[in-house]
Each structure stands twice: as C-alpha cells, then as structure tokens.
Amino acid sequence: MVTFINNAPFIIVFIAVFMARATVEEVDSTLPLTNTNIVSAAQTKFGALQGVTLREMFSEAVDKATIHAGIPKKDIQAAFIGSFIPEMLVHQGHTAPLLLDFAGLKGLPATRHEDACASGATALRAAIMAIESGFYDTVLVAGVEKMTSVSTNKATEALAAAADDQFESSIGLTFPGVFGIAAVAHMQKYGTTEEDMALVSVKAHKNAATNPLAQFQKEITLEKAMTPRYVAWPLKLFDCSPISDGAAALVLTSNEKAKQYTDLPVKIIGTGQASASMNLCDRSDLTSFSASVDASRQAYKMAGLEPKDMDFAVVHDCFTIAEIIASEDIGFFKPGEGAKAVRDGITALDGDKPINPMGGLKAVGHPVGATGVKQAVVVYRELIGDAGPNQVANNDTAIMHNFGGTGATCVVNIMRRADI
C-alpha cells in the first residue's frame, strides 16, 4: 500500500478521505517502547512564589533533576519544554532558548511545546520519541509557568485562550463553566452529587497536607469543601484548582546510559495522545472525554497492559469532576462508577486504586505548563519508593493522564520500575 501511495497521488486523496472516516483505533501506533528511562525527576515548590521569576523556577527544577541528582549538565543533548502562555503571563515569547541559557544549557537544541494544560506531557512525549528513535541518548524534559505576577483576572483571561475564542468564550463560557457543564451531564446520567465532587477535594487536600511542595498543605473538612461559593454551578471554589507558579524537570535516557545514573530507573512503556473537538458543543458525550479514552487505549495497547495492571494513577484534576471522569476514562472504573469509588475510599492514598497520591492539581497547584511534567515526577517518586508519607503500598506500575484545555488534548503514559 505504501508503494501505491508513492506512485499514485490520487490514491493519497482516497486514503486521506478514508482515514478521516476511519476510527482512531485503526491508526494507533503499536510500536513498543523499549528504550526510554526516567533517571531523575524533580519539581520546585508550587504556589504563589513571589519574587521568583519564570527562568529562576525553571533553573531550580533543572538543577535538582541534573547536578543535584548526579547527572552532569554536559550529558544533556536536547531539551523539550512545556509552557502554555508566557506571552500573556510574563510577556515573554521564545522561551526555550532563554530558559536553557539561564539554566546553564546554552547551545542545545531547545523547543517549547504548547498544548494548553497538556503542554508538559506533550513535551515529554516528544522526548520519548527522540530517545526511542535513537536520535538522542539523554535529554531534558521540563515544564514551567509563572501565573501569579499578573492579576487573577488577567490570568483567567490567559487561561481562556485555551478555549474556542470565537464560538464558546465569546458567549461567556469559562473554564470552570466547561467542567460545570460536564458535571451537570454526569450528575444527570449517573447520579453523581456535589458531595461526591467535594470528597475529591477533601482527598486532594489530605494527601497534599504531607507534601511540602504543595500549594495547600492543609486538610479541609467536607463541610468546608461544600461551602456554596459557586464559580460555575455546580462547581464551587473548592472544586477548582488554583492559579500557581512552579516548574518541574525530568532526565530521560537510553537503557545503556541509564545505568550510569541510577540502579532504579523508571521505564515509560506506553504512551498515547489524542485530540478532540475544542468546542464542548461538538462532542456527542459530555460525561466522558474522548481524547482521554483514546489516549488511554493507545497507551495500554502499547504497554500490553490493562487498567487492572495499574497500581495507582496520577490524573488531571483541574476540577474535581475532572478526576471522577478521568478515573472512568482511564478504565479504573466503569462509566458512572467514579464517584462511588471516591465515596468508598478506593482512590484514597491507602485505597486499592490510589489516585493523585501526593495531592493532585487541586491542592498541589496547577502551573499550567509544569503540570504534565510534575505528574511524571510524582509517578517516578512513587514508583522508586521516594514519596515519604505519601508512598502508595503497591508501586510497580502506574498511569499518568494529562489533559489540555477543554479536554481537546490528552496525553497518557504508562510507567513501570525497570526491575519489574
């Protein structure tokens, strides 16, 4: 078929039309991942980091993931950087070379990846491809966002750029509103309640209470989480992740080089990425995010594993309902049973399927471009047994789920300790 494509342009047109109509499943990559290892992972504290600029946060995360982890910066061959919208937040474009220069990595190929809140994980995915292809042996993946140097209104306006400006933002739909609409649909179809969502927030704060890098290191009661300060009904203040600053970094390397740096690398054994319509109104099902389902299917297929093989998950809980839906979309629970899992404590730190064991976006913070990389940092630390009081009991294999904006981009990675 490839030969035909090369020889007959008209067939390309036919194939293109056919592909547009084919289900995404038919075009999934089934290439096995065999050579990608995470050998170090670090993040800055997340929160309102007053007096710390974008490049300083970036540099701190990079130093922690390289020289403080015994990895010389001279070993890094290229950098993949996730950052959402520094143009609006700190009036700075072309950030990749600027950040690298400040962090002592001047001269390396450096590219910024932008897919809204999934920017970090799309940078990670590009790095995975670079290692798997053999193009590089050792690369840096980092994510960063500085959000608190502008007013909350300005930050909200910047975030809104990740929704469709012409058809949805223009009638006053906000990000919390997008997830409010999903919540109403989920409540109607499955009986999920505002209290179920509040319990996700209570869990996030409980886990973050023992995470010194979290923005909110404080437990909250269910009553407090239910405080009726509506942002976008039925979502209340405590259903929403905060505006945050922060950075995170990883070093990825090949099997051969990994041994130089650690006895316990973490392998990335499956990766998936999918997109969906930006507009909520163009989606046939509002109780599930198709990009999450598609990316998960790809990642599981590539890893040759199933949801039951996952010990825990780190998912994109930008809003509490997003965690409930993600827990269903990644296959941990059947559609409609995510809320029950929260109520039954199954997703708690000591539950059978812990989700966001260090506190998630809700309580740790959500510096947009850093989040996807930070999620990989959390998975890495849990898998190597370095999560302190937030250590999950079973920690061989895990899944991370990072999605962007209205759910129009999703990246899912499956990671496993190399000794398994």
Binding site: R21, D164, I171, T174, V184, W233, L235, C281, L286
Partner: protein, 129 residues
C-alpha cells in the same frame, strides 16, 4: 444562500438575529458552529442552511465568576443545545432564575432566541419552547 459560508458571516448573522448553520453540500449534514470539514463525510464543500430554531437542552452551567467583559451579566446560564437538525451549539439559556439551577431539567424543549449582552454583543440564546 449560494455563497460559500464564512465564520465572519456566521457570527454577523447571529449579531443580526438571523442564525444560520452550515450544511454539507455532499452529504447534507447540518453543522454549527462552523467546521472546515464535514463531520459526516469529510467534505469541505459547504453551503448555508436555515434551521427550525427548535432544540432540546443537553447540559448547562451557571457562570458566577465571569471574565471582565461579562462580569456585569453574571450569574448567567450557558447551555449546550441540540438542534432538531442534529447539530449542537453552545448558547445562553434564558427564562430561568440563575439562582435556582436545580429547577432546570435536561431534555426540555427550547426555542432559538438572542440575547443582547451588556457588553454590546448579541449572543446566540435559547429559551423554553
């Protein structure tokens, strides 16, 4: 009706209180908001379509914390509405008290309307039929 539809014209139509959808010339699918290619057959050959203005409520939210340009209008409803012609649009929902969202039932019949916002823009809107 025969000119090739554009996003500018689509938005202007709403501004002027005459909402029209896109229609795929090749398979007849009705599409709104605009798409460059048909969700049904992949064709990019589009024309305009008048719609009945009838729809049903799929889901909604009430925006309490709004961006600056909409702040004076909050709280307000934003809904997903499925038109009788099959496509879904995002629109303002009128005719309900924004402080009593629990009284709004999904699936109810709606009728096309427009809302002139305090921002000066006209929004696509629906109210109970």
């Amino acid at each position: 009706m025969s000119e090739k539809p554009t996003i500018d014209a689509y938005l202007k139509n709403i501004e002027e209180g005459h909402f029209r959808a896109y229609k795929c010339v090749d398979c007849g699918m009705i599409i709104a908001p605009p798409s460059g290619s048909c969700y049904g057959c992949g064709s990019s050959n589009m024309t305009w379509a008048e719609v009945s203005g009838k729809g049903k409520l799929v889901s909604f939210t009430v925006i309490h914390v709004a961006p600056d340009q909409f702040a004076e209008e909050a709280p307000y409803y934003v809904a997903i509405v499925e038109l009788a012609e099959g496509t879904r649009v995002s629109a303002r929902l009128l005719g309900f008290d924004p402080m009593k969202p629990e009284e709004v039932k999904l699936g109810i019949s709606l009728q096309l309307d427009y809302e002139k916002g305090k921002s000066g823009a006209t929004y696509l809107a629906f109210r109970p039929a």
